[in-house]
Symmetry: D2
């Protein structure tokens, strides 16, 4: 399906402030960007680079005053999420090199602490895709999805203690549980289709059966319409923006995702 | 200045044909892409990756029938080309690792054969930027710029023998001369502003004074308005499209570059 | 000075166990490996790759039984650690792309929580090298260096609460404090010369004045003789070995560093 | 089998001369380096980096006088070369991104000129491994392997015209023929076991059946005992040394490869 995603951020800047933005979705195996706009007001110099995870990042220094970023993208993405019940566990020695860093504990995914819990949750499951499905179902049944409940990211340990969190927090716990079973897992931040209230979303991917599969503990049934902005080990790697110096908060943030017939309307 | 660039290619495809396209300019130190469209007709799956030179490449299999690619980009680029007379030669041992591969001979730049010629052309010049300026001036005075004169790329040896060539060919000779003096040099393919007749353009960059500088032997005076699509060692690395299997030629190719006031007209 | 480093690890393996080892120091700007041995007993297939931080990593599956890894390297390294009092802070917008990931919070360096503390510790210091010096001095005076006090890594928050830790833990706190001031910082694991008792060591580097500088809160005066094995954001990235599956512990681990006259004795 | 390889190069240096050496074989899927020495006389600073093909390269500035490089490596490599008759052609759209650059023409492999010739040579063969086998057999039967016949590399066009060449030249023609059929192919430089007279050797690899396979037109029957030093598109990428400034030639070069029982003799 074709989706038109947009993100508008406005900041009140007091002193010149360096930013690293991650707001340009890129075309990849799962999605194709047919049209995009990236508007800065005022118009200032920007430099783009690719980070170690392959994300496109924009570097700039926001000048004092009102600073706005408006991005729009028309994206072809799948109507459904691929599923692979029975997809086999890939033994560590057979994983591609590039996947290995997604096995290790990271800032918000303390996987070294979840081995026993993951073993219990996935008891009786075939190693691989079915284990990740069981973890996702367990999250859905046991950790309350409470949009707006946490401003800063919760780590897997934190969300497991609180028993509730936002999409990103649930994903952190899902990732930590997967990694503790030697299943590579990573966080994805992006736009979902049909989420209410509309906001940026986070889900996770696990590497089983020889490729990455999408899992989302916030959805009762697997849906489609995901548009990825960034990939990383956890939320520390995939901030829509990182800002340096005295803290600056957006005075407004508007996210929209709509279904469109085609990216090139006359 | 803001430029709107567009490239439209149409092919008659007989059998399913794999393509690698390089038609998405990327935001970098020298340019910023504020808006872009990338339309395929018919609409087919595409996968994008970053090649070893940092270029964004699109992989697809064109289906039989008429296949069209239309791209548009609104790009902020400099009004003028940076110049640095006296910019010093960087000794090989002080070059960044990533620059070293631009010192070696490549498909169309047989730099190992041009040491003596380069020494003569740059006689009396300070090592560095001034040597590259002298090479560019020599090309302008001695190799005729004949748009349309060569369909396939000419190597430095070839163009030196013929004494004429297209922009890409002149650049090959410029690059080979630079490398023979241990100055890293690379080919850039992109859109120029104000070229007549309008076509894709090629120029070259040399690494002196601690950064890359633009040189263009086809221009009497250094101009601005360059929009880069791809970088590489020579034309073998920076084809706007590579096509595999039985040869396919574009039945039409239209390039446009126009000055615009702003990328976001209401 | 020339150092001969060695590391011998022995494991009792119950079931075939995948390992990722990081035991081959590499030649770089700061050190040169003139001779090395890497012996596995029994001799089994190994595959080496370079991780996202540039470290050489060895992948293998240890077979059941006694499994031993013995590495030796003869390394030229500096007699002293470079120092640069007054070395300036590099503004975020001027940092190289490759350095940016060392600005973000990571598993054991929760830098987002240390802004106020770092500001107090570095009060009155010139931004840059002197801030990192002040942080290192503060660690030396306030956090007790207790070899053997922690088996698993302590995060910056943990070590700040306990007020003691091993070399790696002190480094985590130093790194978190630096990053909270927008100074890139990374962990280094390697061999020190003259440490008692001899063991693997960890220190940290901060990026100021346009390059990485070494800091070590465990040393009263800056020393030389460091041999780096691996670099990363914190201990989660730079384990000498990662092992997957049921936990396996070394039954013996011997580290030696000795001064040698030359790497090629007859 | 275990092989002990050694390479000794001696140069008479007149002025300080930057070098990039490629003399450290690395452990990979096909070989394991258990012991190595890398001796420079006089002992001078060296910096090592990984090039875009994954090769370990050493940068240094040789001082005036006699300059010697002596390297030794004990390497486990296969007794035989893997073969896969019937291994299928991988369609371009299914090739890994990292393999694509080995499809394009390069300095010494003008693959765009060999389409018809390759089609004739491989007439009747199944697409894939068998095509490459047919190319290798054709080279063996039609291009004379004349050690010492060419000092500088011959391109595919050149060697096809001369009908003889050294191992590197034959490989260039083999690579160009493969690429013209959309089969990725690359040059490997390294040590062979059992070659007479002993010298550095070059062979090529082709990507068929989902992996790289070794081909060597200089051998009547496929042998084992290959130790790779470097990989690249052709000889321009894989020089054992590149030297910059006034030309310098080795006054002596000694290569040895011997079979050993074990890399760690007492």
């Amino acid at each position: 399906m074709w989706l038109r995603t947009s993100c508008s951020l406005t900041f009140d800047i007091a002193v010149p402030t360096p930013f690293i933005l991650m707001l340009r979705p890129r075309s990849g195996a799962q999605q194709w960007i047919a049209r995009e706009e990236y508007k800065l007001s005022p118009s200032i110099p920007v430099y783009e680079f690719t980070d170690i995870y392959g994300n496109l990042c924009q570097r700039l220094v926001a000048p004092p005053g009102t600073f706005a970023v408006d991005t729009i993208a028309d994206v072809m993405t799948s109507d459904h999420t691929d599923q692979a019940p029975g997809g086999p566990f890939v033994e560590v020695q057979n994983l591609p090199d590039a996947v290995l860093s997604y096995l290790l504990p990271s800032r918000y995914c303390e996987s070294e602490q979840f081995g026993q819990m993951a073993t219990e949750i996935t008891s009786g499951q075939m190693a691989g895709y079915d284990q990740v499905s069981a973890i996702t179902a367990w999250l859905r049944d046991n950790i309350e999805f409470l949009p707006g409940s946490s401003g800063t990211p919760l780590s897997a340990v934190d969300v497991n203690a609180r028993q509730h969190g936002v999409c990103r927090d649930l994903s952190h716990l899902g990732i930590a549980l997967c990694r503790s079973l030697s299943i590579p897992a990573r966080l994805v931040v992006g736009y979902p289709y049909g989420l209410e209230p509309m906001d940026l979303h986070a889900w996770f991917e696990a590497y089983v059966g020889g490729r990455w599969y999408t899992f989302d503990a916030t959805q009762a049934v697997p849906a489609g319409g995901y548009v990825a902005i960034g990939y990383g080990r956890d939320a520390a790697d995939v901030a829509v923006y990182n800002q340096f110096g005295p803290p600056v908060y957006p005075v407004s943030q508007t996210i929209q995702v709509q279904h469109i017939e085609s990216p090139n309307p006359e």
